[in-house]
């Protein structure tokens, strides 16, 4: 959650519509609408928040809607009101009852940022394409 230190944080209020490409070094809280690309360390989409486009973050907390592509390199929480539609990539996922997820799911695997994941949740495969990016 966003702490008192607002440095590097973004808040998109309810009713606000933003289109374009957004890069946030810390936490992005979306209560309005985003069309385009958004990347942050942590993205919180509130109940009223809608993102259409590409979402990239370490941690995603989804109470609203995300359409198209979503990548959570650490963890993805889909809350009871959350809707994820499209391509979803995650390292660790949790969905509450009522949460909606539809589309293609795959596990995010990267050697760029090695994380002390639970070994049980890691499956072995080649990451050659990811490394070259």
């Amino acid at each position: 959650m966003s702490n008192n230190n607002q440095k590097g944080c973004l808040f998109i209020g309810e009713g606000v519509v933003i289109a374009g490409s957004i890069a946030v070094p810390e936490t992005a809280t979306v209560a309005g609408e985003v069309e385009g690309e958004i990347s942050a360390k942590e993205i919180i989409v509130t109940e009223s928040g809608v993102i259409r486009g590409k979402v990239l973050a370490e941690v995603i907390d989804l109470k609203g809607e995300v359409h198209d592509t979503m990548t959570a390199s650490k963890s993805l929480f889909v809350r009871g009101t959350g809707r994820a539609l499209g391509t979803v990539e995650y390292a660790l996922i949790e969905i509450e009852k009522g949460g909606d997820i539809q589309g293609a799911l795959s596990k995010f695997e990267s050697k760029r940022k090695p994380e002390p994941f639970n070994p049980l949740t890691i499956t072995q495969s080649s990451n050659s394409e990811l490394i070259e990016e």
């Binding site: 996922i93 589309g103 799911l105």
Partner: protein
């Protein structure tokens, strides 16, 4: 009213047998605990159906491998390995269980591994579960750490 009374008797007769079954696990209890709701909800419809729903869960135990088609109105616990086509009320894949194939059921709880095609109403994915395949559900719950790969669809 006569029917209902009769059914209650049947249920109470069945219960002691169920409890004495040594293979019973916590998960089974969980599944059974939900059953009375289903029973009463469908009590008015078909007597035949409710009678079959009183069935105890079948268990594919650890180290047991089964290949083939399973059809039942009851529940199934898979702790061993099961490959094939399944049509059931509720399926529980235990922590060491492996289930592969085509499954259609009302309730599905996966704590082990599942791969294949799944069509269900309620899906619960445990924290150490691995699911690979095409999944259609009405409601889904994934505990932290559970892995799903493949296509997922929500049914209306």
């Amino acid at each position: 009213m006569f029917f209902r009374k009769k059914k209650v008797e049947v249920e109470s007769k069945e219960d002691p047998i169920g409890v004495s079954s040594s293979a019973k696990q916590d998960e089974d209890i969980y599944i059974e605990a939900q059953e009375p709701e289903m029973l009463f909800a469908e009590d008015l419809d078909l007597n035949v159906k409710t009678e079959t729903k009183i069935m105890k869960p079948s268990i594919i135990s650890e180290g047991f491998e089964f290949i083939g088609e399973v059809r039942s109105q009851g529940d199934l616990t898979v702790d061993g390995t099961l490959r094939g086509t399944l049509s059931l009320n509720a399926v529980l894949v235990g922590a060491g269980g492996v289930l592969e194939g085509d499954v259609s059921c009302n309730r599905m709880c996966v704590k082990g591994m599942f791969s294949g095609r799944l069509e269900c109403i309620d899906l619960i994915v445990g924290s150490a579960a691995v699911i690979d395949g095409n999944i259609a559900f009405q409601s889904i719950t994934i505990q932290r750490g559970g892995v799903i790969k493949g296509m997922v669809f929500k049914k209306e």
